[in-house]
């Protein structure tokens, strides 16, 4: 089904949070202010790598209007944070490891005073040589950035009877290449910020966007040394995140300052600071060697991944595991040997980012597949079909997974795209521009994977106002989760949108549901509501029976209240939810906790549920400027039933253009550990003029018969396969293969020049 307004029909529903957003009435957490509020600022490092000799805050403290200046001495508890490994100092004590490292923070009456105070803090540094090349960082002679050395994590996967080198000897065709991917920036429009408001009981309320309120609560509890119950996190709505606000950012500073000054403290980072201090996508260098027999059967695949995780761990290990897992993608290869290294450097911190390591490895793998097909002399579609996974095949690291024909379904549908039909000569009448077309496919795991706690929870209640109140610990990052919950609720209970109240994003009110991450929330909402459906209906109808003396068997939940069904009589509304709620002594409420479905085999990080996607593109390469424009893009997505068509489409379209930026424009380049870009005037993300003139999204909703796992998330999949599709289309247009993203105009011009000269 081509997904658009027309095909979605009545399910094209206006977002519940839409009106407050288009009117500007919605208060984002960074829009909030409180009486007596102070403004905070953080002093970031001057150096990518240096020893701190001394920090003198005296002059800053004496500046009128300054309420508090804090350094490492003022961190009440653990001076460290990180979702898994708490190796990032809240405030550095003896060493800075990247230019975003926090050394001190200030709270003052105005932003200007806070800024002035920061400039009065004297930090004496002894600069150290920055370590900026991940491969060099692994050498014994290189200075160690952390006590255990510069290797944060390594991961490996081997498959096959023969040693990999021996299996290459059997190959008739081998392609061996090195791929490079950029340090992409999340570039959410709302930079990190929030307000911390101290309570009278020593507790604190934090209004700051984050993808996992409870994880913030736990981390702040360690840092502030107060029990988690005393910390309330209000974490939605979020002005964009894409993974970038999953880690703590300004929260430690506003909370320490607020507790010290006993006044609300707000920090809203400038874009410049956000770029310096914020997370990025892991740049990866991927060595890939792949071989086939004479007929094009994949025999050997050797991969080495070097991921630059920057100064601190954050989710570097999991991102690497994901890349290792997806190294062979949806293909069955006899012998596989993958090794991955996540390495500390003095570059900016890399962490979680939409696609989670899948984008980098898919670019390498799919380009490799195209190159091999060319070398063998068969069509890349025939080559893929020959090696594609089948419905009952195990997952990419040989783990048991839910049976899926997604790969084949996507490929079969994608090659029907009008973009790929080579009936016309694209380049007739073109002088200095060349058109080309190409495609790619991918397989992407949902949830956190084996061995990682991935629990979720949900609560469903009839509240005093007569609303069916559903509560989750998930966040509205913009993806449309509120609408998704709304639609799952109204369709499950046959009720009206007005009957549903949705509570999310507030640790004081919601159950733990885990992070809004890893394309998991839609799936977890569906599972939660389905688990609660029967017990909730039973409780509600028992109450209705008591009130009306009509057997609950004849009653059901519907619009506005409880409806009666009697044979040969029309349905009618018997009792409103409001009437029912006011008649009950105890309001019905049911809760559940459950886990994201995981593979039974103990392979760390191995996934169980996968989505599949394919992208076909048409590009136009300008031989005079070296610029590439993507003129058409078609997507085929296999993720089970579409819950929220508007949200689904938005996620794919938005993800796709983020992928386009990754391929053609975006790189937060660094030199000697310093960012070469400071703002959105030099770090360019796609504008409305850069996107394809035509984009279509085709949703495959069928799952293998008997599948009980429901709709899969689509938050990430739209970004993953875009880069190799564009690279393949550029090859179709020009004959050149590109291994380094983003694709630079001068790379194309150089290749064109060489071609002309060699004529």
């Amino acid at each position: 089904m081509v997904l658009d307004i027309t095909s979605a029909g009545a399910r094209w529903k206006i977002r519940r949070d839409g009106e407050p957003k288009v009117t500007g009435r919605l208060k984002y957490l960074t829009d909030m202010s409180f009486p007596q509020m102070l403004y905070g600022t953080v002093l970031r490092s001057e150096h990518p790598h240096a020893k701190i000799e001394s920090i003198d805050t005296k002059e800053a403290e004496e500046l009128p209007g300054v309420a508090s200046v804090i350094t490492y001495r003022d961190v009440p508890g653990l001076n460290g944070f990180g979702i898994v490994i708490q190796d990032q100092p809240v405030l550095c004590e003896d060493k800075v490891r990247y230019v975003g490292d926090a050394v001190a923070a200030v709270a003052a009456e105005t932003k200007e005073i806070a800024q002035k105070a920061i400039s009065l803090i004297k930090v004496k540094y002894t600069p150290l040589q920055p370590v900026t090349d991940p491969e060099e960082a692994l050498r014994d002679t290189t200075i160690k950035l952390h006590k255990d050395g510069n290797l944060l994590h390594q991961a490996a996967f081997q498959k096959g009877e023969r040693q990999i080198e021996k299996s290459f000897k059997d190959c008739a065709f081998i392609v061996e290449e090195i791929y490079h991917t950029p340090r992409q920036m999340h570039a959410y429009m709302e930079t990190e910020g929030g307000v911390a408001v101290p309570g009278s009981d020593g507790g604190i309320t934090v209004y700051a966007p984050t993808q996992h309120g409870f994880k913030d609560q736990l981390q702040l509890s360690r840092i502030l040394s107060i029990p988690p119950e005393k910390i309330r996190i209000i974490s939605s709505p979020i002005g964009g995140s894409f993974g970038g606000k999953d880690e703590l950012n300004i929260q430690p500073y506003i909370t320490i300052l607020a507790l010290k000054t006993k006044r609300p403290v707000k920090i809203h980072q400038s874009r410049r600071v956000s770029i310096k201090a914020g997370l990025k996508r892991h740049p990866m260098k991927i060595y890939m060697k792949t071989g086939t027999d004479t007929g094009g059967k994949l025999l050997a695949h050797q991969v080495k991944i070097f991921a630059d995780t920057g100064a601190y761990a954050t989710l570097g290990p999991a991102v690497l595991d994901f890349a290792v897992e997806h190294s062979a993608g949806p293909y069955r290869i006899e012998n596989v040997d993958v090794k991955g290294y996540s390495i500390y450097t003095n570059n900016g911190v890399a962490g979680e980012f939409r696609g989670f390591g899948g984008n980098q490895i898919t670019f390498a793998l799919e380009t490799q597949i195209e190159r091999l097909a060319e070398k063998i002399g068969i069509s890349s579609t025939e080559f893929r079909m020959k090696n594609l996974r089948q419905t009952e095949d195990p997952g990419p690291v040989e783990q048991p997974i839910v049976p899926t024909d997604g790969a084949k379904a996507v490929l079969t549908e994608l090659i029907k795209s009008p973009i790929l039909q080579k009936k016309t000569d694209l380049n007739a009448g073109m002088d200095w521009k060349l058109k080309g077309r190409g495609y790619s496919i991918t397989m992407h795991g949902g949830g956190l994977g084996y061995g990682r706690p991935d629990p979720s929870g949900a609560r469903l209640s009839l509240n005093e106002e007569g609303k069916l109140e559903v509560s989750f610990g998930f966040e509205e990052c913009g993806q449309g989760l509120i609408s998704t919950i709304d639609m799952i609720m109204t369709e499950t209970f046959n009720c009206d949108t007005n009957d549903v109240e949705i509570t999310i994003g507030d640790t004081a009110k919601v159950p733990h549901s885990g992070s809004s991450t890893a394309s998991r929330a839609t799936n977890m909402v569906w599972l939660g509501v389905n688990k609660l459906k029967a017990p909730f209906i039973e409780k509600v109808l028992a109450g209705a029976e008591k009130q009306t003396n009509v057997s609950s068997e004849k009653l059901s939940l519907g619009k506005n209240g409880i409806w009666i069904y009697e044979e040969e009589k029309e349905e009618k509304l018997l009792l409103t939810y409001k009437e029912l709620a006011s008649s009950m002594d105890e309001l019905p409420s049911v809760t559940t906790s459950y886990h994201f479905p995981t593979t039974p085999q103990s392979i760390d990080g191995g996934h169980f549920l996968y989505t599949f996607a394919g992208v076909a593109v048409e590009v136009e390469v300008d031989l005079l400027t070296g610029r590439v424009a993507v003129t058409k893009m078609d997507h085929v997505i296999s993720a089970g039933p579409v819950v929220n068509p508007m949200g689904y489409l938005g996620q794919i379209e938005g993800g796709a253009n983020m992928g386009l930026g990754f391929t053609l424009m975006e790189d937060a380049a660094m030199e000697n550990g310093r960012y070469m870009t400071e703002n959105l005037d030099t770090y360019l993300i796609p504008t409305i003029l850069d996107i394809p003139k035509e984009t279509k999204v085709f949703a495959i909703e069928d799952l293998v018969s008997g599948d009980t796992y429901g709709p899969r998330g689509v938050g990430e999949i739209g970004t993953v396969a875009v880069a190799p599709a564009i690279v393949s289309a550029i090859h179709d247009a020009t004959g050149m293969w590109l291994n380094k993203l983003p694709i630079q105009a001068d790379t194309i011009l150089k290749a064109v020049e060489q071609k002309i000269l060699s004529r």
Binding site: Y28, L63, R271, G478
Partner: protein, 168 residues
């Protein structure tokens, strides 16, 4: 310099039809005046260098980035922010954004709507080229812009119908 003793000056201007008088440093930015001094937080702040358009407002009939306007430039100015569009009911642009799914996180949305309003105020039937050019100063990281283009389509279709009806 003592940060407490910044030179301040009284500036009067109109925001959404309301006369305002504020005593502020002349270099205080319009975006901060709107958000911090007047609590009009519908105008967003995102890049502060005039690149992203999140802080777009209409000043003296022209589209401006409010991060680039300082208090000393605002004497007697007339400013309209996103809040002015829906004082009674939703503006047709806002309706179209809702219908088309032209927003996700929504942080760029007010600026995007203001930029579109500024274009439509000047040109009733803009070409596709005009629309693309007019919105190219507004960055959106969520929608991929397709939703926004759907909203423009809905809107121009509607305006076309209305104008057609008016002629009959």
């Amino acid at each position: 310099m003592d940060a407490n003793k910044l030179i301040e000056k009284t500036t009067s201007f109109k925001v959404n039809g309301k006369q305002i008088e504020l005593t502020l440093p002349p270099t205080y930015r319009l975006v901060d005046i709107l958000r911090d001094s007047l609590s009009l937080t519908g105008t967003k702040v995102a890049c502060e260098v005039g690149r992203c358009g999140a802080c777009s407002v209409i000043m003296n009939g022209k589209l401006v980035n409010s991060c680039l306007i300082m208090a000393y430039q605002m004497e007697d100015a007339e400013i309209f922010t996103i809040e002015s569009l829906s004082e009674e009911r939703l503006h047709p642009i806002q309706e179209a954004f809702l219908q088309a799914g032209a927003l996700q996180c929504g942080y760029c949305t007010p600026g995007m709507i203001i930029a579109l309003k500024s274009l439509l105020d000047e040109e009733e039937q803009p070409s596709k080229e005009d629309v693309l050019t007019a919105l190219s100063g507004n960055l959106c990281r969520c929608t991929g812009y397709e939703g926004i283009l759907r909203a423009v389509d809905l809107l121009t279709k509607k305006r076309h119908e209305t104008i057609g009806e008016g002629k009959e």
